[in-house]
């Protein structure tokens, strides 16, 4: 990447970090349900950018899309690692978090984390990051129809699981 490989390398790197790390952190947090994992994911995203083997090609996708792609892969990798070692799976509540379930936001977070990965990532990108569906399609390397379909299914599932919350809220 020209900007990062050229003069003022560190400054350019930090500028990119400042511009994108907030959204990447939120995205990773909502995919993994863990702030610690989200930190690691963000770090990996930016270090990937400066690795000699960096696969970012400006002509193929905007930097933001590419970074979200790395964040997604890293987040899923961490989720699978967690599952394979039998640790707390995403969305599985510990006794501590069970107590927090009384909080509406925790309930919503839990419901989102219970979604299948493919639906969850589309929902998070579309709803929370306000990413256009076409960009999500490019990021996930699927067609636009598949994005819409996953989003619809995710929303339907959430409507069902959160119906009780709605009545509580009222």
């Amino acid at each position: 990447m020209e900007l990062v490989n050229g003069k003022g390398r560190e400054k350019a790197f930090l500028q990119l970090f400042d511009e994108h790390h907030g959204a990447l952190f939120r995205f990773a947090f909502r995919l993994t349900g863990s702030a610690a994992d989200a930190e690691d994911v963000v770090q990996e995203c930016f270090l990937e950018l400066v690795r000699p083997t960096c696969a970012f090609v400006p002509a193929r996708a905007p930097l933001r899309t590419w970074l979200f792609g790395i964040a997604r892969n890293q987040s899923l990798k961490r989720l699978r690692r967690r599952e394979s070692v039998g640790a707390e799976a995403a969305g599985t509540l510990t006794p501590e978090t069970e107590l927090l379930r009384t909080e509406l936001s925790e309930l919503v977070g839990h419901a989102v984390l219970q979604l299948p990965e493919k639906q969850r990532e589309v929902l998070v990108l579309a709803h929370y990051e306000k990413m256009p569906l076409a960009e999500i399609a490019a990021l996930l390397e699927i067609d636009l129809g598949a994005v819409k379909s996953r989003l619809q299914r995710a929303r339907a599932a959430l409507k069902e699981s959160l119906a009780a919350c709605r009545s509580e809220k009222k």
């Binding site: 390398r9 930090l14 970090f17 947090f29 930190e39 963000v42 400066v50 509406l104 919503v108 119906a163």
Partner: protein, 252 residues
């Protein structure tokens, strides 16, 4: 539940802000994995520049005649005194008198080898650059001639007879009368290193004064210079001293 209700519910789940330390962590990782090429480049550029500078200095210095046009040289200590009477030798120097001027041959810092190295480079570089500039600009020499013996106490950084382009620091300077070593009021006499000296007191403002113990048989060279500072009670206290510890005869 309609779409608006769902959106409202989803919005209640907020993500925490990324910790502020994350930036430093990523930056550190970046620096660890990417040693700064700029720093390397600067090191190389600096080394090359230093090599060129030293080469130029070496060339200039080697062209400079450095005979000692005096039958002797003096080794001196520059001492500073604390309020409790403690003393520290801050510099050693070797010099000689020429045309009423003290010409510095070399100096060192007994406490700091790096400072000594710096002195050597600076003492060689500054006069060399001065001479080079004079040659380039065609500036006529303004160095004092042997018969223009009016002052002493300059410290210079070269051994050039004409003193052209020398580093001249008005380190401890005072004018003396052309026919005598005395340039102030006489404070006394004493013998230092077997040379009779006259103490000449020079007042520098209200709070400082120096006494130059000059040796007439050494061309009015000062074998001891003590600088005193007035204390709150009005008394003067010795704060700095240059003292010659050895006179060596030069081979001529």
């Amino acid at each position: 539940m309609n779409d608006t209700d769902l959106d409202e519910l989803l919005d209640t789940w907020t993500a925490p802000a990324p910790p502020p330390l994350l930036r430093n962590r990523v930056r550190r990782e970046f620096q660890d994995r990417n040693p700064r090429p700029n720093r390397k480049r600067w090191v190389v550029v600096t080394l090359v520049a230093a090599a060129v500078l030293f080469a130029l200095i070496g060339s200039a210095v080697s062209q400079t005649p450095s005979p000692v046009p005096a039958p002797w040289t003096a080794d001196s200590e520059f001492v500073s005194y604390g309020p409790d009477g403690s003393s520290v030798i801050e510099m050693n120097a070797t010099s000689y008198a020429y045309a009423g001027i003290e010409v510095l041959l070399g100096r060192s810092d007994p406490r700091n080898p790096l400072a000594t190295a710096f002195y050597r480079v600076a003492d060689a570089a500054v006069p060399a650059v001065g001479r080079a500039m004079q040659r380039a600009l065609g500036t006529p020499s303004k160095g004092p001639r042997p018969d223009d013996v009016r002052a002493f106490g300059y410290v210079t950084g070269c051994g050039d007879h004409s003193l052209t382009g020398c580093l001249q620091l008005e380190h401890y300077y005072f004018l003396k009368r052309p026919d005598t070593c005395i340039g102030g009021s006489v404070a006394g006499t004493q013998t230092i290193l077997n040379h009779p000296t006259i103490g000449v007191l020079v007042q520098m403002g209200d709070s400082m004064r120096s006494t130059f113990w000059v040796a007439p048989d050494l061309g009015c060279f000062a074998l001891r210079i003590g600088t005193e500072k007035r204390q709150p009670d009005g008394a003067f206290h010795l704060v700095e001293e240059k003292r010659v510890v050895r006179i060596s005869t030069t081979a001529r």
